[in-house]
């Protein structure tokens, strides 16, 4: 299995670098994941999106639809792309430790 190394610890990921076990996630892991998605540092604005995604996932077991992220955080879609250049579904969700969605998406 592929992995990402954080502080000398190997954390299992899928082929695209999404972490496999949500329990492995912490803020340092988030930063390491961010660097794989063209995000060099995590600002307060980044954390607002990441925390919303994490909370939503905890409650619903799935990533929220992008429009919910826009509504809940108050950022426009463009602002979200400025924060996460690879997009909310791929970039932001990966950094928040969520799995990738599959199906007609």
């Amino acid at each position: 299995m592929p992995f990402i190394e954080v502080n000398g610890k190997q954390i299992e990921t899928d082929e695209d670098g999404f972490i496999v076990n949500l329990e492995d996630w912490n803020e340092e892991v988030a930063l390491a994941l961010a660097k794989t998605e063209q995000v060099e540092e995590l600002t307060e604005d980044h954390w607002k999106v990441i925390n919303y995604l994490k909370d939503y996932y905890k409650e619903f077991g799935i990533a929220p639809m992008v429009r919910k992220v826009v509504k809940a955080t108050g950022f426009s879609l463009k602002e979200i792309y400025d924060l996460f250049p690879t997009g909310p579904a791929k970039g932001a969700c990966k950094i928040a430790g969520l799995p990738k969605p599959t199906g007609c998406v």
Partner: protein, 535 residues
Amino acid sequence: MSKLPKPNEMLRINYMPPKTGWQETPVDFRPGTFLYSGRPESLETVGLPNPRQWSPEDEDWKLPENWKEIILEGLRERLDKFRSLRIFMDTCVRCGACADKCHFYLGSGDPKNMPVLRAELLRSVYRKDFTTAGKIFGKFAGARELTVDVLKEWFYYFFQCTECRRCSVFCPYGLDTAEITMIARELLNLVGLNIDWVVTPVANCYMKGNHLGIQPHGLVDSFEMLCDDIYDITGIQLDISFNRKGAEVLYVPPSGDVFADPGTHGLMGQLMLLHETGLDYTLSTYNSEGGNFGLFTSHEMMKRLNAKIYAEAKRLGVKWILGGECGHMWRVIHQYMDTMNGPADFLEVPKSPITGTVFEHAKSTKMIHITEFTADLIKHNKIKLDPSRNDNYIVTFHDSCNPSRAMGLLEEPRYILKNVCNNFYEMPEDTIREKTFCCGSGAGLGADENMEMRLRGGFPRANAVKYVHEKHGVNMLACICAIDRASLPPLMHYWVPGVSVCGVHELVGNALVMKGEKKRESTLRFEPIGTEEDE
């Protein structure tokens, strides 16, 4: 994820076949052109054989020891069970009519994407073990031994076919090449060879009712948000229900529309329309998926997932079922449902309570497509429409493969579009209706890791859109399939920037004049509306 070539590089397609013969040309798992293996947990969830970690790029695919026996026995069973398969195996005369009809061949130049050769991958093995000529004359009779390399080739090319059936339209014998792919995938599944983009949606659908794995409270939350948006746009509060016993109709949209734009906008349009007509319908959290990725796995899996819709219809005691803007769902309903899970004689033949129209053609499945329902409403003048609200859009229509080729749904979406917008242009004749070109991402191939092949396969479709974009200024590509709504936006972004994608009912929702609505200022995607005429 591999880096994508630029469009001009991608267009340098080499149609010259390799120097080596097709049996001597090994398969190349080039990143960007194949899909990841199925996650073992998903295989376990639905009881598929040989769950394990593996990758198509590995030398060792961790097959069961007797894999060859399993595949050949599986083929024998299927030849006995499906007379169609034996006919498809025996009949092809290699006339070549199908060769240049496949979008993957056109976009890749790889001869093994010619439907005739794709079928030959399986046929050659069939000949070796199941025909007298093949047994005696071997290679001279076009027969070959089943080896691990052959199996790898099957995996690559049968998961590089979207089962769109465009080639079948041109086959003088009418061979259903999608069914050849279906059987090949079934055989691959017997030894644990599936892709994650198919098997995880299947497992989700089986356990949680939809491909995405949205749980009941998540579904309710998402629908409520769509209703809030509708309220913001129209000033009208919709009252939707879930799992309501005694409703007249069970409404089953594809789950992709609950999750991602632009599907959500089309779903809003459908909810608005159903509200306006006063149809007594309910949604279900047990079966919250129109699509059926079982179709891309095996007949058995398709049957299991399809059964959920009917089990729910029975439990809730509805009279008939209304399906959303989904594509391959209609191949399952129209061509397989009746003999798999039918007849659904506990339901009634769908009858629109608004117009009185009885949909006789659905008397066996008891299920109609939302565009049939809406076209009938418009025909009977039962809804008020202001097409000028869509005046910002110059629209063309992409026939989704399965609604067009598997159920003949050609006129209804066009009739609706011509009534809800003022600017509608058709793409060239050879690329629409029964001859429509696939989006390039159907049959479970819509994963990001397969993006290069998706863009290659989608090129013929995109090229036709480019033609009307340049000729008529088309800026909106309407469709009636959730896979389309997920895959056409990146396809347009790559090949035809400036063209957006929408579901047909998004445009219906814009145009629909609702009783008691406030003055519309924005479209369903919260952009300024295209008209001042309401004033």
